[in-house]
Amino acid sequence: MSGWRLVFSGSGGQGVITAAILLGEAAVIHEGINAVQSQSYGAAARGGATRSDIILADEAIDFPVVTEPHIVVCLTQEAYTSFAPEIRPGGTLLTDTRFVKIAHRVDARQIELPMYETVLREIGKPIVFNICVLGALIGLADLIRPESILKAIAHRVPADFIELNTRAFHLGFELGLPLRR
């Protein structure tokens, strides 16, 4: 792996930042690769579009800001409008069918998945939506091993919720895997 630049975006309550942190933790703690994660703060974070940047790489990561992301995940329309255009030509744009209506084509692979609906249908708890998204992402793109994410989750969530999160992750993973190239 030579380096991934990702943007996670959505709205305040969707757990976008947690998803990014989990990815970073999995990479750094469980795979020994480097990661930096950063996020927008301030008024924007209190209602408007939230964004978290993450870079994964084998070598040192100096400049931590994501430009031309390989992957952009958008979980709200506003986030899609703001951040999708930044995508690197040939990159991957992942959106949720429930929240985002794709407006115009960009020079990237555009993947719309019914992640929210799936979570709601299969689990009934929107709280694990972000974990499902993470699953879909790992399914789609071979960023790190699923086990690493699951370990990171197990470390973060209370024991009672590990099962729930694991299921959400797998639901997403199943959605994403078929589309992996």
């Binding site: 750094v28 996020q39 100096d62």
Partner: protein, 382 residues
């Protein structure tokens, strides 16, 4: 590897470093982007028998840690620009009364309320000159979380060694960004403990009489030695004086104890510096971009290197002069209007070859921004 790997914010790396160094008392008042330091310590300190207190403001916080330092604790407070301004009077007190303490300033965009959730590096000169009157100060910084940890430990060590406040000048990017931190094992990094007097009970103890090595042993408040501490000029017992000779001697002591040890105190790192024709001087988050650029250019065979300052005050004048001697051009990379630039210009033999690559709009300066300045210097336009 046995050491604990963590994926944390810079603010958390600072907390880990402080606890490693032996922090046992924290007083603070929340302010973005430093607040996580207080939040984490509210949880961690009592769990190890230490004490955390949220004071009514930043002034009180600064005063409280000075009080707690006097009882023998390693103490810290954390803030950002507006709070740092408020603490200045009491920081001067700590300088004058020679109280070991650590003040963290996670910088945001200033002046005033400024650009509170965005990065800035505009408090460098304030750290040096923010309080009234002549004085001296040690200020450290870091560009990555491993160094945030290490420099925090250094800050506590220096505070104890020199009986002085030490400022940790981080910035919003470093404070909030998450990356890897390897927490060292106990014993791995050297710690300086409070030097306590060996003067026995009932023998006259002089809190302000330096030993031959220049250090001033302390005695905990509540211990066997009763003495006075004041922000006035004072004699070796700590009692006020305006005797001209004593006034002058004390001030010179406060200045010299740091200026005479610049080599001992200052810290820097060199990246790709051998034979560099272009020298980038940077610190904090800006240094990451400088290093990024140098790494990239070196790969292409260009002779660009970086001096990363890990200490800002006292300014390592001689080192900079020395290392920049052969450079064709020197670029100071920072997120302010040239605060370190002025120091570098004053240090080098040929100030005309020193340029500023900066950004003051709340965004992290990018390698591309530095490239642009480089192009101009090289006569290649923008």
């Amino acid at each position: 590897m046995a050491r604990k790997v963590r994926f944390v914010q810079g603010n958390e790396a600072c907390v880990e470093g402080a606890l490693y160094a032996g922090l046992s008392f924290y007083a603070g008042y929340p302010i973005t982007p430093s607040t996580e330091i207080a939040e984490l310590l509210a949880e961690r300190l009592p769990a190890r028998g230490g004490r955390f207190i949220q004071m009514e403001d930043e002034i009180a916080s600064m005063c409280a840690i000075i009080g707690a330092s006097l009882t023998g604790n390693k103490v810290m407070t954390a803030t950002s620009g507006p709070g740092f301004s408020l603490k200045q009077e009491a920081i001067g007190y700590a300088c004058m009364a020679e109280i070991p303490c650590v003040i963290v300033n996670v910088q945001r965009g200033g002046p005033s309320t400024g650009n509170p959730t965005h990065v800035g590096q505009g408090d460098i000169n304030q750290a040096r000159w923010g309080t009234h009157g002549d004085h001296n100060i040690i200020a450290l910084t870091a560009s990555n979380h491993q160094d945030v940890f290490a420099m925090t430990v250094e800050a506590f060590n220096m505070a104890e060694t020199y009986r002085t406040p030490v400022v940790l000048l981080f910035d919003e990017v470093i404070g909030h960004m998450r990356e890897k931190l390897l927490v060292p094992e106990p014993g791995e990094l050297p710690l300086v403990e409070r030097l306590r007097t060996s003067v026995p009970k009932d023998v006259d103890y002089h809190p302000y009489l330096p030993r031959e090595d220049g250090r001033l042993p302390m005695s905990d408040f509540g211990g066997e030695h009763r003495y006075n501490v004041t922000g006035l000029y004072h004699d070796m017992w700590g009692f006020p004086t305006s005797n001209p000779k004593m006034v002058s001697e004390l001030l010179r002591h406060l200045i010299d104890k740091i200026d005479n040890r610049v080599h001992e105190i200052t810290r820097h790192k060199e990246h790709f510096l051998e034979g560099a024709r272009y020298v980038l001087i940077s610190y904090g988050a800006s240094a990451r971009s400088a290093i990024h650029l140098a790494r990239e250019r070196r790969a292409r065979g260009e002779r660009i290197g970086v001096i990363e300052l890990q200490s800002l005050w006292p300014f390592p004048r001689e080192m900079i002069r020395e290392k920049c001697r052969e450079a064709k051009a020197v670029l100071v990379v920072e997120m302010n209007m040239g605060q370190m630039l002025a120091q570098v210009r004053a240090a080098v033999a040929d100030p005309e070859k020193v340029f500023l690559a900066n950004r003051v709009d709340g965004k992290l300066i990018a390698p591309a921004d530095i490239k642009q300045v480089l192009r101009v210097i090289q006569g290649r336009g923008v």
